[in-house]
Symmetry: C3
């Protein structure tokens, strides 16, 4: 049933997983860098040793910084589980068309999620939609992996 | 020593890892959905664009929402490292009986952790026990992987 | 191009990835244990059921606890993506010398990051340096993976 040959650059499904995983790693890091930039722009530092001037004090409640941190945390909650389950899903030898489009759905919707959450705030339901497309695709993969483990 | 044939549905150890990883991915997502539900129930929204009514204001300190968020964050801290180390542990060709029971211990105790933390609050040491069973099992796997890398 | 034989104990690149991944899993868990210790030392508990004495109240703003929690969260943001991309990077068959030293750079600099952030606070730019060394190495791996997926 499982064929380790699936983990190969010849397998377009694995290749698509590989590419989107790398792009989403870069996207998560971009959220981190963006948090840092926002801290400098708003002079909001969480540690005394980070204060650039003796006039500054530590601050934890800048709404712009907190917004990026929420987007970043949402990435950890949703993208990191995808990294694990996406690889295992490749091993279940799924339909190439479906799997490739699920990976694209996760990748694109998670990028959109960050954009509408933390870069240009777009009214709901844009963020909810981006969230649920990625979640739905990943849940589907997890269910397929559970089924393949059980039978 | 390492045999890539270990990554196979024929290998009951890998299969158990696969199944519990998928179940725990779904469990992490359930914590996310539960946070969202709790936000609606308590009308606690962190973003202005999420407010359902002009009478509401953003709120960050609802104890019910924060409890689920702490449980969710604890998942990220403990389950996500398990996803990585569990797979590498399979590659060290461990005793099947031990490995299968370690995976079960992690899976079951992390589900119990969420239940006693965020669904029905059970007095300590129930949460601490669930936490340490999963932690102990994952630390053991990590030590076996370190040893296998070194020798 | 991709050779699944790369996932083997004979491959020093994979072995180095394996060893540092396991060490960093233990390092993340150490941050979690350290948070717990700091909670006891400062009597800062986030849940009513954790209070050791009826005189205590839940507390969320102890600076020592919050510092360790920030270091811990920074681990999740940076080390967990490394676990995924490091494995995929091994599959791109990189130069052994470069890959081994990149893994070492990530491992050592993330340990230094925790030490100077949460154990003995060292003035900046020590923490920033540790952060950017690990980030730079991981971004390089992610770019190599993107390129290998595309061509």
């Amino acid at each position: 049933m499982l064929d380790i040959g699936l983990i190969s650059f010849e397998n377009q499904v694995f290749r698509t997983y590989l590419g989107w995983t790398a792009i989403l790693v870069l996207k998560i890091f971009a959220a981190g860098i963006y948090t840092g930039l926002m801290r400098f722009i708003t002079a909001t530092f969480a540690n005394p040793e980070d204060l650039m001037s003796p006039k500054l004090k530590v601050k934890f409640d800048d709404p712009n910084v907190e917004r990026v941190r929420r987007a970043h945390r949402n990435d950890l909650e949703n993208i990191l589980p995808f990294f694990a389950i996406g690889l295992l899903y490749v091993l279940t030898n799924p339909s190439a068309w479906l799997a490739i489009n699920l990976f694209r759905a996760v990748g694109i919707s998670r990028i959109v999620h960050t954009l509408v959450y933390a870069v240009v705030v777009v009214p709901q339901p844009s963020r909810a939609l981006a969230f649920f497309v990625a979640l739905g695709a990943t849940v589907y993969m997890a269910l397929q992996v559970v089924l393949s483990a059980a039978f």
